[in-house]
Symmetry: D5
Subunit: 148 residues, 10 copies
């Protein structure tokens, strides 16, 4: 299934590739995490005008890019069940470990959820002689259910 991305996503990824700039480079330029920057490129977060300006300069893009990077479009990218194997594994983790996580979070915090908005996500490469490992760290504010 060809997943449809915002038109802007193709433009900015092509510019990044042409410039030979990595997300890690952009992390240095912008002072923001590479995953957050990648989420900007997919229209899932929005930059301040200053941030958008810096990105546009780094990638040689103009006003249209700044407009796109500072807007708040409809979020959520993939098909209902992702078919891309890399992304599906995160769906599988939710299917397999979702209720176990619910049990442990409730035991530690009580009734409530982990925010996906007041939230950060970090990816690290952990070198390992038996095969490198991907370390994903999610950090979200616990929101207790309000009673009224």
């Amino acid at each position: 299934m060809t997943v449809e991305f915002p038109a802007f996503t193709h433009t900015i990824l092509a510019a990044k590739k042409a410039k030979g700039i990595s997300f890690a480079d952009l992390e240095t330029i912008l002072g923001r995490d590479e995953v957050w920057i990648a989420s900007l490129f997919y229209g899932q977060n929005s930059a301040s005008p200053e941030e958008a300006q810096k990105i546009a300069e780094a990638l040689g893009l103009g006003e249209e890019a700044i407009a796109a990077l500072t807007s708040y479009p409809s979020k959520g990218l993939g098909p209902v069940v992702p078919t891309d194997p890399l992304i599906y594994r995160f769906y599988e983790i939710m299917q397999v470990y979702g209720y176990p996580m619910k049990e442990v979070i409730h035991e530690k915090f009580g009734d409530g959820i982990m925010s996906a908005i007041d939230f950060t996500l970090d990816i690290e490469k952990v070198e390992d002689p038996k095969g490198d490992r991907v370390k994903v760290t999610m950090n979200g504010k616990f929101l207790p259910y309000k009673k009224w």
Copy 2:
């Protein structure tokens, strides 16, 4: 939507509640992470006979519990799109950050995926005066696509 769990899940969670034992206690008893133990209770992982024995003893359960904890039933718990707000947030993270993670992982590792099998998941409570935070650490082996 009432999600259907394996019949055993209800039994073992009730026994754990009746005994007043937390997953953290079980972590100490078993020497295994509390999330992994919770996943055992939901039929998503399988214990060795010795591990099953220790859990059964701690919770006052018999042979049937050991049989259930050491078997490999069909995995994957929830509805296609979860309705429980705590679990839905992990689905939303996959919808919103899935492709950005794919970009960053490919940039760091090349073509391949993070394994969800050679994989660990840890949950920590990070105290914070502005509101405690949930920290979820996923650690999976990177599997490069084999060429042939």
Copy 3:
């Protein structure tokens, strides 16, 4: 489609009916809003032991009710698209006014969402000679997207 509710829901609604107690009465007894109390009955929120005790007493229910009212089961009740006309109208409102609300909320607050957890919901009957009206007031904390 017969929607499946937690077994406890049927018990507690039957007890409430038998006692002839309204949600408004329970609001007075408990000092909590009637919608929140109704959400408790459907397993969508959880009470403190003291709150559960008061409800159990009012309805003549025992320990099992207290256990159910203080637990945190899987949330989310209906089919993917509700078929009940009263509930469907709220789905329709989301379909018809969802993006318009997104525009107005973003204009007033910037990028972020209205929390459905740090959230209250109130229902009032507004008498009107041309036909009484239902007034639903939702009040949720605005959560700005965190940058990192």
Copy 4:
């Protein structure tokens, strides 16, 4: 998932952005609520020719805009289950609080529904030192089931 909007929606939102006019400004110009106006822009409601004329003038648009604003196209915008986090929260509210609202509305009014047609929706920003809040007020006529 890139949600498809009527072609006109993109045109009118771009014109509004270019003119630097907010929905609040349009509320003043038109004497109609900003949410209703936003719903017009998404083709979910229809204006009178006079109303369409005023909007077209304010945004510097011509006959085509008037034609679009006064027509009655197919309504309902999003995917079956919304993926945009802001809009999803309204879906979650329906999933979690739908049946509780049904209980309370039936208790207050008897068998029937809240109209989504003879209906208004208002959004307010409630300032709060612990974090501003979004207040959504829905007001719909109660329609009792007719017997025949």
Copy 5:
């Protein structure tokens, strides 16, 4: 697909069959249309206590029947797309004639809908030498979209 009906539906239909009473007979006894009565039996409408009493008497049923007939359960019966050929034809009519009806209703009434709540539905047998015909008359209040 075996469609699941409320348990009560089976009981009351069996009682009606055992008594050899038709919906037309019940129409005479109750002074209400047979389709409305059939909708009561499927939990889609609710009777007053007096009406419930009359039906229970006619069918030799007790208090439980009266309780069921006067309650307001979750409505909407079938699968998303009905498989029963008789019911599917009404789905097909909506698929084939839905937009044409929308055009004609908008032309006659302006923007709005036909209410399915302030609504009656009547079925008649029209004898015809070339084959009898089913005449279904729907009559619903037109609800214009409210502006605010």
Copy 6:
């Protein structure tokens, strides 16, 4: 969800609007019901060459229109569950009154269905001081199940 109509539908509806001709006018010109004519415009029925000719003349359209009006394209217009409120109400009627209608039709006619092919559909505006009403009359041949 922007519903996709046959390209021709847009052309002919635009021509009709430009000419200021109503479906009621076309009913007079053609001697066929306005709903049937609207269904022609949506590619759900097919005209004879003479009928197509008359319509093309009335709307100032050429050979291409005649070809489209006389062809038999794939039928069925909307999404599986319609999101347009006007059309959804007909889906809701099928969900709520489908099985009750099945009961009454079977009681009156025996095992069989109402044809949606040997079928007519008429819409009338019934003026009423308490609010005008939409009257929809469906008339289909009863088809008994053939035994063999």
Copy 7:
């Protein structure tokens, strides 16, 4: 996916098996086609009291069987897309040859459909040295679209 059949289906198929009676035998006893009889057993058609009597006698069943065989339950058996390979092939034929059949039927008959109600279906075994063949003959009345 275990497909759910009407409870009666299991009873009558078990009785048939116990008696060692084939559908071909029942065809002789009843003077009706074996496919029609099999469809009776699955609640997809209904027998006259005399026919039901004959079947009940042949299979040693009582009043309950007669009641089931003469009733008109909800029809349509399988999941939306069948998983049973034998039945899936008929779904595949509809997917692959549906539009080609539509072309040929329209060319031969004009606009309309083949009735699935005024319809018979016959299955024959055609012996063939290269492998026996299944011959399915469907015969349905052509129903032209009525104009009005």
Copy 8:
């Protein structure tokens, strides 16, 4: 729902219409059944170069047509559940008569299926004073399940 066909399908059907050639004519020209030829036009079967040549000549088409007619594209045309009434009736037949056919085929042949590949399908018009009938004959090789 506008069903999407391969681009080639529109071209070849238009050419056939322009030439005034029927599928029956093509049957004579090609010495192949008209349904098979229609399936070619929808990209569901593939012709030999000689067959493609004959069709291209008959319809005045060139190399591109020959390339399309001899290729093996992705098969299966319609939506999951067809909305076109003519095609839906074949889906309904599978829903209603699928399991009855399975019973009869298993009784006649044992465990296995009717092939949809080693398969022919023929459509005949059977004239009848009470209304002409469509006769569809399917003939597929029986494939017994291989044991190993």
Copy 9:
């Protein structure tokens, strides 16, 4: 999602476990492949009376087991998209390698399919110091599309 298996499957798997007999043992006893035997246990294939007898004896089961093993129930086990990680990988292989396989099979064989009925499937453990490997060999008859 708890996948529902035929009731018999649970019985026979429990008997096999209690007897401590492996599928490899059954392969020796029956002279049939272990995968085929496992498919029997899940109601996906059917045994001859002699084969059923041997299995029943080996597992200490009676007439009911023989009846189940020799019957032809509805086939196809899992949810539409499997959630079990082991089974999902085969779904993923079909998603990722399906069209590439189609290309290669068409190039080698022409238009047609690999039979899933005249078909065998074998699983081997290939020991490997870098990690043992699962080798799955599928062998199905090529069926060319019949022309007619």
Copy 10:
């Protein structure tokens, strides 16, 4: 359903056809399996720059092809349930033999899965006088569930 492939897929398949080069030829040129090469063409795997260069040369394609062949786009091609008969058979195998394979793999290897990433897939034509056979060999690393 016309399955959408990456735009590049059409270009490269057309170039391959125009050059008259088979996947078997490319296997020789590249020293990689033909299925792997076909999967490259569908954007399901990625080549090294040297491999991409060789393919581009063989097919007379330029820089754009090299860029496409070395990128890692979103994977997973078909609709949720494939409609193409050749590909559907692999879906059917997963539906019918999925759980039996799970049983046998667990018995041979313990709890874990066959990798679809550290994985090869080979297709062979096995000539047979009773009809040639397709032999598909899958070979994936067994990944045991990690405990932590």
